[in-house]
């Protein structure tokens, strides 16, 4: 049940269509970032898998907090 299983389809529950990677903005401690994140092409619903949060976002958060 790995997040990295790309064969999994993520479907927007409301719109009934698959999510697609789209550039999305983030902010933390007065700085802004962007990342390709799965979103619903219609309503913009976001999905961020656990691996991405733990492996990528956590490291950047930590570096923003202190060197």
């Amino acid at each position: 049940m790995s997040d990295k299983d790309t064969s999994k389809q993520y479907i927007c529950h409301r719109c009934g269509i698959p999510l697609e990677p789209m550039k999305t903005g983030f902010s933390y401690l007065n700085r802004n970032f962007q990342a390709d994140i799965l979103r619903c092409p219609t309503c913009g619903l976001v999905y961020i898998p656990e691996d991405f949060v733990r492996d990528r976002m956590a490291g950047i958060e930590s570096r923003m907090e202190s060197k």
Partner: protein
């Protein structure tokens, strides 16, 4: 204030031996190299310090031994023999002359005795052109009269090989001024001297002259004097300003502890027994290494030995002070400086630094002030303290906080258990209050947080508000003496609410407390003093008295009493620096084999969470089985134990309590709600609730019923995620339809921002309104969900996808 004090730090004070030693060098560095068996590196360090190593090590009368702290206790370290060992076992005694560019300046040295030679050598080594004027026809001066003189002079000759240094013999310089001006080479310049020599009539003048004549002392003292002259002369050449010689170091102010576990036998004794101590015999390599291991390597290391933060970050107080000053005081070109924010938020604020420091340098104060400054600047990362402040808010909310006092008017005592004791186990508070009320029936109880999380977070406005609330409550209750169960509450009150008199629960219990025989069948036990108990030695004694009267035989821990150290909880460092708090936990657990008896529920839960057996002293007092309760809180005893008895625990009961898994962060808050409900519903008829909401209005069923597997429950607790928050996220996803269906898995996923953080859940429906959680995680970054997908509103170059 701090930055003035930090200059008093004894970090750079030399070892004792170096004070007596005429060459002021880094002896500890030399000893370290010998310990590692690296005699070549040791030799280089030594040669660099004394210039003529064989000569100096042979002639040295070892004045260092007089200052060695081992001199009176064991036998002084034979530094002199170690120096000889370095000379003997180095791979190469040849000098290394690095290709330093010529300085283009010339120095005249008058006299080719030990002082002049040492000075000349050092200048030549640094790239100066040197001419030595000697009235006789040979170098060495008084060394020539010594038994082994020829050997020493041979060494000196070999050291000078390849350096730009001329010797002018049989010239007596009478007019130094003339020498400098270049118009006289001395009164007898033409008596056989090299007429082309610098300084001789008609040649270039010298930039500086060192007159080595008339220096008093033995050969060693003269060499040292010649070397000591070099830096002031060089400084003068560079700046044009006169500079005094560096003053000899003063005797260090720190003391050293002669610790055990070092080699027992002194090298001098060993060599004497073997008949090897004649002349200037050098010891063998192994013997030298052992002697170096016997050395205490004196330096002030009180804080570096005691403070976990210094041990973990491997930074000295001065370095930390500078990083904190920059981080809190300055802004960089690209915005604020974030260099030391994690350091600032990692300190456990236990104060061991100032306790052990011979100069009382207070790093704790520095870090407290720095946190306040970061909060004032608005640049404290919210995540560092968010959980702890939210948890405190819950403890102080109508859900968990309550004050109960006799309807007829409050009495002499008010029990203040603190927020974590009841969070760990409501029974601790209920049984303790029962015990107090049985002896002093008019005892009130105030259940809330003492406010220390606001202090640790640097939130001054918040702590002033909270202490104001507590002060008001104290007045309302008729200004009772507060009875503390938690040493941190007690310390916090003593610091911020000094007008409120306090006593610890354990001091009251120690007077005529229970007796028992827990030694039977029991494993080894040690009292673990919480760091905050350092301020109250009477409480430390009371707990030991209680433990002993219960029958425990206690093994002391290395830390404890006036050296008590933090369990890792203090200062709320766990979010800012989890690796550091893990390091602290492991350090404390490694101190003792047995079960820890402590009197802070955070210490108890921290250790038990690592699988280390730990009990609260209240476990020993109240975890006994026995008759049903006659007291008001019938039915509520310590979790998992029979209720209602004031009998002490059995040894087996205690072993189970020692391994009791600590509650999750959710259970902790739930325990506080249970505590309040038990207190209010079990209240005696002559008691009343003071102010606030009398009964918790909390509905634990929430909007959805969430099933969480045990492993996931423990994981989210470690990450400071509350289960009701996750239930709220699921409820939000279900109510709005803002969720993702994960195809083929029957799973759904969604998120919601609660407070600062964004929480994600992955779950499946298992019944009507019932869900099983399969994943839960959070992040601190905020998603710009309102922005148009694909068109971020920023130009920031950092992209999250790339590492």
């Amino acid at each position: 204030m701090f930055y003035d004090r930090i200059t008093e730090c004894l970090e750079f004070e030399p070892p004792y031996c170096a004070v007596e030693y005429p060459f002021h060098w880094d002896v500890n560095d030399f000893i370290g190299k010998v310990r590692r068996g690296n005699f070549t590196a040791a030799f280089r360090a030594y040669r660099n310090a004394v210039v003529f190593p064989v000569t100096v090590s042979s002639l040295c009368g070892a004045p260092c031994a007089r200052a060695c702290p081992l001199a009176g206790e064991e036998v002084a370290i034979a530094l002199n023999l170690l120096e000889r060992a370095a000379c003997e076992h180095t791979k190469s005694p040849k000098p290394e002359h690095f290709s330093i560019p010529a300085k283009g300046q010339r120095i005249a040295v008058i006299g080719a005795g030990p002082a002049g030679l040492a000075c000349a050598y050092r200048f030549a080594e640094r790239g100066y052109g040197v001419t030595v004027y000697e009235k006789t026809g040979r170098i060495g001066g008084g060394l020539n009269d010594l038994l082994d003189g020829e050997r020493y002079i041979e060494e000196i000759r070999s050291q000078f090989a390849g350096l730009d240094c001329d010797f002018v013999f049989e010239v007596e310089v009478e007019d130094i001024g003339a020498l400098r001006r270049g118009d006289a080479g001395g009164g007898t310049a033409d008596d056989g001297a090299d007429s082309a020599a610098h300084g001789a009539p008609g040649s270039d003048p010298y930039d500086a002259v060192y007159d080595a004549r008339g220096i008093e002392g033995d050969a060693i003292g003269k060499i040292a004097a010649g070397l000591a002259a070099v830096n002031p002369i060089e400084a003068f050449l560079k700046t044009g300003r006169a500079q005094n010689e560096e003053p000899a170091p003063a005797m260090p102010e720190y003391g050293v502890e002669i610790y055990a576990g070092r080699p027992a036998r002194a090298l001098a004794d060993i060599m004497r027994e073997r008949g090897e101590s004649s002349g200037d015999a050098a010891p063998g390599k192994d013997d030298a290494v052992r002697e170096a291991e016997r050395c205490l390597m004196c330096k002030c290391r009180y804080c570096t030995d005691s403070c976990d933060l210094i041990r973990f970050f491997k930074k000295t107080p001065a370095t930390m002070g500078e990083e904190v000053r920059v981080t809190t005081g300055l802004d960089g070109l690209r915005g604020e400086i974030v260099v030391a924010k994690r350091l600032i938020s990692s300190c456990n604020l236990c104060g061991i630094c100032k306790t052990v420091c011979p100069k009382n340098i207070d790093m704790e104060h520095l870090f407290r002030e720095a946190r306040e400054k970061l909060v004032d600047k608005g640049s404290m990362p919210w995540a560092f303290n968010d959980w702890f402040l939210r948890d405190m808010a819950q403890a102080n909310s109508g859900d968990a906080s309550v004050a109960i006092a006799p309807a007829s008017g409050a009495g002499g005592y008010a029990f203040f258990p603190g927020c974590h004791l009841g969070g760990s186990d409501p029974g601790y508070v209920l049984k303790s209050y029962e015990w107090l009320a049985a002896r002093w029936p008019d005892t009130s109880i105030v259940v809330r947080c003492c406010g220390v999380p606001a202090v640790w977070a640097g939130e001054r406005k918040l702590w002033e508000k909270l202490f104001g609330e507590i002060r008001d409550m104290w007045h309302t209750l008729g200004e009772p003496t507060f009875v503390f169960a938690c040493p941190t509450c007690m310390l916090t009150f003593g610091t911020y609410l000094p007008e409120i008199e306090g006593v610890s629960l354990y001091e009251l219990m120690a007077d005529g407390g229970p007796r028992g025989d827990l030694a039977r069948g029991a494993a080894s036990y040690s009292v673990f003093d919480p760091c905050s108990s350092r301020a109250c030695p009477d409480v430390q004694e009371a707990v030991r008295g209680l433990a002993q009267s219960l029958g425990f035989s206690l093994s002391p821990l290395p830390s404890g009493r006036d050296r008590a150290l933090c369990c890792s909880y203090g200062g709320h460092a766990a979010v800012a620096n989890p690796e550091y708090t893990q390091f602290v936990r492991e350090s404390r657990i490694a101190e003792g084999e047995g079960t820890y008896i402590t009197y802070c529920s955070n210490c108890r839960d921290i250790f038990a969470g690592e699988g280390k057996g730990a009990i609260h002293i209240l476990d020993a007092l109240f975890a006994g089985g026995g008759k049903p309760a006659s007291a008001p809180y019938g039915g509520i005893g310590l979790t998992g134990s029979d209720y209602g008895s004031d009998e002490p625990a059995s040894a087996d009961g205690l072993a189970a309590r020692a391994l009791r898994e600590p509650p999750t962060v959710t259970e902790r808050q739930e325990n506080r709600r249970r505590l309040k409900a038990s207190l209010v519903y079990g209240m005696a008829p002559d008691m009343r609730v003071i102010g606030g909401s009398p009964v918790p209005a909390y509905d634990p069923s929430h909007e959805v019923k969430l099933h969480i597997p045990d492993a996931l429950r423990r994981q989210i607790s470690r990450e400071y995620i509350l289960e009701p928050d996750l239930a709220a996220v699921v409820a939000h996803c279900e109510a709005t339809g803002d969720k993702v269906d994960i195809e083929g898995m029957g799973l759904m996923a969604g998120h919601s921002k609660i407070g600062h953080a964004t929480y994600w859940v992955e779950y499946r429906e298992i019944g009507v309104g019932e869900y099983e959680l399969t994943r839960a995680y959070q992040h601190r970054m905020e998603i710009d969900e309102d922005g148009t997908p694909g068109v971020p509103k920023t130009h920031e170059t950092v992209t999250v996808n790339e590492r």
